[in-house]
């Protein structure tokens, strides 16, 4: 386990370095941020001053070197646009995104797996068919459209829920969270539903497919023959065996929902980091883009690590770090 962790750590540092390098080159290739930041009425002297102030007059490799030196100390640069440390901007907004992503995943898992199981156990019933049809709609309807419809129905027409923003927050372990207040939940409901719809559909279909396959296996027939209750057969034997692909997808989707919930955040004006990323890209605010992507890569690495550990818990045949041996 220790060797596994250390090897993972080494790989992660390498991935982070490559990531930073690629982003630096990429943003540099798009264009000069000064053109977008400086007031058009400013004269040439002002442009030169601004360029020097942001360190953009130095050659690209030197800028990258400066960035690496700072990164070793934990300083990922200051935003060109806001002049606050990039990492501070991101960490300010990350709790909101994590909260939204968490709520969406909880909704998707809590509804998706049971619904998928039902659809798998009774595939030809009206309920089973209905769930599958619903899941098709779920991943076909664009997030953008679903969000706007939710706002039109629940805010404009019915007036039950607020149309945008995050609700009141309370501090939990030093981090502001809004799901502990009623106002916070009202604000969280629609964005979380909007984000959850796609994941929900994915999980339903995945669970159904896994269930259908598992039910045909010998061990299930044997368990039934043994006289185990239906609940135990499904809840313990079937579920545990289909969870590995599901956990993989959940891990991937959790990462992408944290990183790229941009559309939902834009429509609901949710003060999260996804929106920060897209705005920074539009403004060529390179320090924020680089810092953000490094944070996201780190999150993905951590999630993948956790998923691997969960595999070994779910499937006793899996040994961490060893080459896959046929059993």
């Amino acid at each position: 386990m220790l060797a596994f962790t250390i090897r993972r750590l080494g790989q992660s540092v390498f991935v982070l370095f490559v990531m930073a390098f690629i982003v630096f080159i990429g943003v540099y290739a798009i264009g000069n941020p000064i053109e977008l930041l400086v007031n058009p009425q400013a004269d040439a002297a002002e442009r030169a001053r601004a360029t020097a102030a942001l360190g953009l007059d130095k050659p690209l490799m030197e800028q990258f070197g400066v960035f690496l030196a700072g990164a070793m100390r934990g300083d990922l640069g200051r935003s060109f646009v806001y002049n606050v440390p990039a990492i501070q901007l991101i960490l300010e907004r990350l709790p909101a995104t994590l909260e939204l992503a968490g709520a969406a995943m909880v909704m998707a898992i809590a509804l998706g797996i049971p619904l998928g199981l039902i659809a798998g156990l009774k595939p030809h019933s009206a309920l089973g068919r209905g769930i599958m049809a619903g899941s098709i709609l779920g991943f076909s309807l664009p997030t953008f459209w679903v969000g706007l419809v939710l706002i039109m129905v629940f805010s404009v027409q019915l007036g039950w829920l607020p149309p945008n923003g995050r609700g009141e927050t309370v501090m939990l372990l030093g981090v502001p969270v809004s799901f502990l207040t009623a106002d916070g939940l009202a604000h969280l409901a629609m964005p979380a539903i909007n984000l959850a719809v796609f994941k929900l559909s994915l999980l339903i279909r995945l669970t159904r497919a896994g269930t259908r396959e598992a039910l045909l296996q010998d061990y299930v027939k044997f368990a039934r023959a043994k006289g185990l209750s239906g609940r135990r057969v499904i809840g313990v034997h079937v579920l545990k065996n289909i969870l590995i692909p599901i956990v993989t997808v959940i891990g991937l989707e959790l990462g992408s929902v944290i990183a790229f919930a941009v559309v939902t955040e834009s429509i609901f004006a949710w003060p999260g980091s996804g929106k920060l990323l897209i705005d920074s890209i539009n403004q060529l605010d390179r320090p924020v883009i680089v810092a953000y992507l490094l944070v996201i890569v780190t999150i993905f690495i951590v999630i993948n690590f956790v998923v691997d550990v969960v595999y070994s818990l779910l499937d006793p045949r899996v040994r961490l770090g060893q080459a896959a041996a046929a059993h």
């Binding site: 798009i30 264009g31 000069n32 941020p33 000064i34 053109e35 977008l36 930041l37 400086v38 007031n39 058009p40 009425q41 400013a42 004269d43 040439a44 002297a45 002002e46 001053r49 601004a50 102030a53 942001l54 200051r78 060109f80 646009v81 806001y82 002049n83 606050v84 901007l89 300010e92 907004r93 619903g134 709609l137 706007l148 419809v149 706002i151 039109m152 129905v153 805010s155 404009v156 027409q157 019915l158 007036g159 607020p162 149309p163 945008n164 923003g165 995050r166 834009s266 429509i267 609901f268 004006a269 003060p271 929106k275 920060l276 705005d279 890209i281 539009n282 403004q283 060529l284």
Partner: protein
């Protein structure tokens, strides 16, 4: 699922129901662009300037038509060509109770060029002042190196902070509220980056009582979300109503739309860097032409005549645009009554092109941004279609502004769709930035991406810019405008009309500089 779809369809036609009744003296306003800082000298950006005007004030304010009016300066005059005397307003207090005096002005102007890491500072405005003399706590003398007619206009952009803070506070101090002390009608309560800004009334404001106790500005960049926020009652006013929603909101009795022509002109710069060629300009079969057609004023004029500005204003902009014949609308200083928008005349354009030696026209590519100006990509496409009737084959390529402006400035494009908002409210500085022969060291033609150069026009313009007499200068500016527009230095298309929508019980008095000010929002019928 199906039931929800049916409800949604009905909702789209239904009237709005307010989500929660706003408290009497509290109002929420939806803004389109984020405010990047509460430091008034950090980033010269229009949304910043608009919001910070609630908290801080300059010596000179602008009214709804961008005309100068007294702010923290009660009066000012030019003593001679190089000397200005400003008399300051008495009995004004900052939010922390300290009195406002000339020392605060001096300290503020000293700070302006020295704000660290500023992506766009206000130094251009304070640079002309080479010497400052404090005669008494309420009188200041400024000296300039050259006659600088626009000094009052420039100083209207620099907001005054107390001396102690000007000397020591950092941008972070302003953002956190510790140093956000000004003389304005509101004080900062909360600033959350790219999310919301909360302001509370300054009850001791020298200009009298405001109707609002608390203001909440929400940044709602997504247009649909902004409209939904208004319709659901989450905010009571929004700026920049999307053109597609204007008709529906105006028709709804619970809302009203206020609009006003802005200082922003949408125009086209043509690549005139040299006589030989222009990028993306070829003959119809793709071969290069033997000279640059944009250098011929007849070709430029034909390209201007071939655009149907009325159709663009009517159909694409939903009437929220005014066809343009120069760089600012008629109500602004320095505009000529003789300059009218070019009449739509595709046949006349074809004749002019034949005269210039292009009887079969030629091919161009129209380049433009797609996320910067209102309906910018649609305007580019419309122009391409008009040109096909005048015998010019036009392709269209639009791209995000992050990519577009860099490449346009580098001279990569031949036909560039652009916009320009004149912050000084008079046509002289617009002509200077966009049409004067480019000389960055002298500050001429800094944004002349087409490199248009007309020495006769340059002379008329520079003479006008250094004439201190207002009436004389106006005549000279009008003459310069006529010279350059009759030569079609650039092709003006239209002036954007800014829109604001308010809920019932609120009325907004619109402004030409596109600022959204709570001071112009008044309760109605309560």
């Amino acid at each position: 699922m199906l039931r929800m779809l049916r409800i949604a369809a009905a909702a789209l036609v239904a009237a709005a129901v307010p989500f929660a009744a706003a408290k009497e003296r509290e109002v929420s306003i939806g803004l389109q662009s984020p405010v990047t800082s509460m430091d008034p000298h950090y980033h010269n950006l229009s949304p910043n300037n608009s919001l910070l005007l609630h908290v801080y004030e300059p010596l000179i304010l602008r009214d709804a038509n961008m005309k100068l009016k007294p702010g923290l300066a009660a009066s000012w005059r030019a003593v001679d060509d190089l000397t200005w005397e400003f008399k300051l307003r008495r009995n004004v207090k900052f939010h922390d109770g300290t009195p406002f005096t000339a020392e605060d002005v001096v300290a503020t102007y000293k700070r302006v060029p020295n704000v660290p890491n500023s992506p766009s500072s206000y130094a251009t405005f304070t640079k002309p002042i080479v010497e400052t003399k404090v005669v008494d706590p309420y009188t200041i003398i400024f000296k300039t190196a050259q006659p600088h007619v626009l000094l009052p206009s420039d100083l209207a952009a620099v907001y005054i902070v107390p001396k102690a803070l000007a000397e020591k506070a950092t941008t972070e101090d302003f953002n956190s509220g510790k140093a956000a002390i000004g003389t304005g009608p509101y004080r900062l309560a909360e600033f959350v980056h790219n999310s919301r800004i909360v302001l509370k009334a300054n009850y001791g404001y020298w200009g009298g009582e405001e109707p609002w106790d608390k203001l909440t500005f929400k940044i709602l960049s997504n247009s649909a979300a902004r409209v939904a926020a208004l319709l659901s009652g989450d905010v009571q006013m929004i700026e920049t109503v999307p053109t597609s929603d204007i008709a529906k909101i105006s028709a709804d009795k619970s809302f009203s739309v206020a609009d006003k022509v802005s200082n922003r002109v949408i125009y086209v710069h043509l690549h005139q860097w040299n006589d030989k060629s222009a990028p993306f300009v070829t003959s119809k079969d793709g071969k290069p032409l033997d000279k640059n057609p944009f250098r011929d004023s007849r070709v430029r004029k034909a390209l201007s005549m071939a655009i149907n500005r009325d159709a663009i204003a009517e159909r694409i902009m939903e009437k929220r645009a005014i066809p343009a014949g120069q760089l600012l609308a008629d109500s602004f200083y320095g505009t000529s009554r003789k300059l009218k928008p070019a009449k739509y005349d595709p046949e006349g354009a074809k004749k002019l092109l034949a005269e210039a030696g292009y009887p079969n026209g030629f091919a161009i590519t129209i380049h433009g941004p797609n996320n910067r100006y209102i309906n910018d990509d649609k305007i580019a496409q419309a122009i391409a279609q008009f040109y096909s009737r005048a015998g010019i084959t036009a392709k269209v390529e639009t791209m995000p502004s992050a990519v577009y402006f860099n490449r346009a400035t580098a001279g990569e494009f031949g036909y560039m769709l652009l916009g320009w908002g004149t912050e000084s409210g008079e046509q002289g500085s617009a002509m200077r930035s966009l049409l004067a022969t480019r000389d960055p060291d002298k500050g001429m033609g800094v944004n002349n991406r087409g490199r248009y150069s007309n020495p006769a026009f340059d002379k008329q313009l520079t003479d006008a810019l250094f004439t201190m007499d207002e009436k004389k200068r106006e005549g000279m500016l009008q003459q310069a405008a006529e010279t350059v527009m009759n030569d079609t230095g650039l092709i003006p298309i239209h002036f954007e009309v800014s829109t604001w929508a308010t809920a019932k019980g609120y009325r907004y008095t619109p402004r030409t500089d596109q600022y959204t000010l709570a001071m112009d929002l008044k309760p109605v019928g309560r």
